[in-house]
Symmetry: C2
Subunit: 336 residues, 2 copies
DNA sequence: TTGTACGCGTTATCAG
DNA sequence: CTGATAACGCGTACAA
């Protein structure tokens, strides 16, 4: 590795001068500067980031803890976050926990060792002990998509429970009375919050949905769940399926159509997220959109503010009903 | 930041002893070890990774250069790569170039500064000058999904051109004679290779497809492209649409159905990749599957071997036709 | 305007 | 079995 010292020798100056040229501070004579710059390009010198961090005590690195990258939701979130950080000269250390608490704990140890200046996290952990280690080390944390249990960190996330209510509301207004909630992954707090919102809103209408929750971010599982729900007696069968995510809802559409039911003629289906995938299905999925890219942008803005010892105001993260082709009044509605 | 020195003081030993305890090498008396370990937990000490790197000269970090994370293909690839690296105690530095050559160059400078031990890259660059900087610094590079132009790096990628041929072959065997290729993004070498394979195979059958290529990884654009292609005279209109990716093919399906055409009754559609999304559309997409997860696994294995100065044999990365519901003989076939 | 010397947190070498 | 010390590459008081 060629170091600042090699440059100094090559240019016939001291290391201090080289440092000054590289960082553009302090006085350096024009001729000297030129000689140094020439040596820098000649030897293809790049300053060693680790050595810099040793001196400065700041790493310009940010941990980004996410359950996965191979599901569209988190892929998009990771993309936005990474770009926003890079734009600010911050290096993202993306950590896929793969929904494993042990792995998440390991990642936190690693981030501590890396001396990260901040952490963005969508955690799958149930308690705060792991994140407390970061707090104790003075590392600012911002929660994304979901709160950090037991921690007083700011959380950049939409109101998932309100989202659950919105889904129910829309179908209620269309006249539906028999509902099922198809959702996954069951352990995900945002999913739970949506289910809770839906159940609550339906309860206000004197109704109670069937709730079928699966374990993974998985299309097949949700399809199977929905197929089971739809298999019963046609007059008892739900006329409205509420997916806790778009993928769950897409699974539900497949289940219905596989059973020979028309969507939305026989069953209405609604999703949550408004991923690109919502438009890939046919009929295209009606869904509640969350401002995913805005969430990423806001989360980074919050964290950067925290890292600078400031507190930024958190913008609204509004949910929005996106009407497409999978919801309609229930079949018997006209006959009631 | 609490350092090894703080631990030494707390435990009443020298820093050397602390280091020995932490790294579990050299002789340390049981009592001494206990005292040190107690101090470590008491002060919640985590060794500073940067200082370690300074001494060792090795960073245990790997650059992962990808065009994006917000498209399913690269999201999955990134996920697999990140997990494989972490499993081996290597830290992934994921870099989204967002298809920008300038940004990619900036990332390479950053990776050099980070003293990465290796790089995995799906580049959008047209020449080798940027990657040559890594080569000059002695950093092993493995290309993923596509070769690195002008560089003698190993490339872990399926035979995209053969994939293009497979798509044509399947439709030819069904009896189709009028083809269009719908693809994006146009500047992507894998896409180009697939188009080339398709065109070549069709030429061998004395046929020439229309080729319509868009600029982004974009559903809407491909749908528009396909709509244009299908808009003409029904007897001239292609009976088979070849998507260079699943997303392009899904766009094509929407175009056809939007025009009142039946899939696969009036038009057959085939895709490439076999993403989960291929199964979300209705009818489900027939496609050529590439072993995406295997590509990630192999790429990491190759890189790790290179980093150890070894060379691993590269396993086959077979493509496979996945028959689903979007291809059938052309409508006039029975009447010919 | 330029240079000398120290310290950031580790680990390896060598001495005891 | 344990400790003192040098060195990794850099930035910055301080001196010249």
């Amino acid at each position: 590795m060629t170091s600042i010292r090699d440059i100094a020798r090559q240019a016939g100056v001291s290391v201090t001068t080289v440092s000054r040229v590289i960082n553009n501070n302090g006085y350096v004579g024009a001729a000297t500067r030129a000689r140094v710059e020439q040596a820098v390009t000649a030897l293809a010198f790049t300053p060693n980031a680790h050595a810099r961090r040793m001196r400065s005590g700041t790493s310009r690195m940010v941990g980004v803890i996410l359950p996965a990258l191979d599901v569209p939701f988190f892929g998009i979130l990771a993309h936005v976050i990474e770009q926003e950080l890079f734009r600010r000269g911050l290096q993202a250390l993306i950590c896929c926990t793969d929904e494993s608490p042990d792995q998440e704990a390991d990642y936190i140890s690693m981030l501590l060792a890396q001396q990260v200046d901040g952490v963005l996290a969508a955690s799958v952990l149930a308690d705060s002990t792991q994140y407390q280690r970061l707090v104790d080390a003075g590392v600012p944390i911002v929660a994304v998509d979901r709160a950090l249990p037991g921690l007083a960190a700011i959380s950049v996330a939409p109101d998932h429970q309100a989202g659950g209510r919105m889904m129910a509301e829309h179908l209620l207004q269309l006249g539906h009375r028999r509902f099922a909630v198809i959702g996954a992954p069951r352990h995900s707090p945002p999913v739970q919050a949506r289910v809770q919102g839906t159940v609550q809103r339906l309860a206000e209408a004197g109704l109670r949905p069937q709730v079928a929750l699966g374990t993974a971010h998985d299309f097949d599982e949700c399809r199977a769940l929905a197929a089971e729900v739809l298999a019963g007696d046609p007059v008892q069968r739900p006329t409205a399926l509420i997916g806790t995510t778009d993928i769950a809802a897409i699974g539900a559409i497949h289940a219905a159509i596989g059973l020979g039911l028309a969507v939305p003629g026989d069953v209405s289906v609604i999703g949550f997220d408004d991923l690109p995938e919502a438009r890939y299905v046919l009929p295209a999925l009606t869904t509640v959109a969350q401002p995913l890219r805005e969430i990423g942008v806001q989360a980074v803005a919050q964290l950067v503010a925290r890292m600078a010892g400031e507190v930024a105001v958190l913008a609204e993260l509004p949910l929005r009903l996106v009407l497409r082709d999978t919801t309609a009044p229930p079949p018997q509605y006209g006959l009631a």
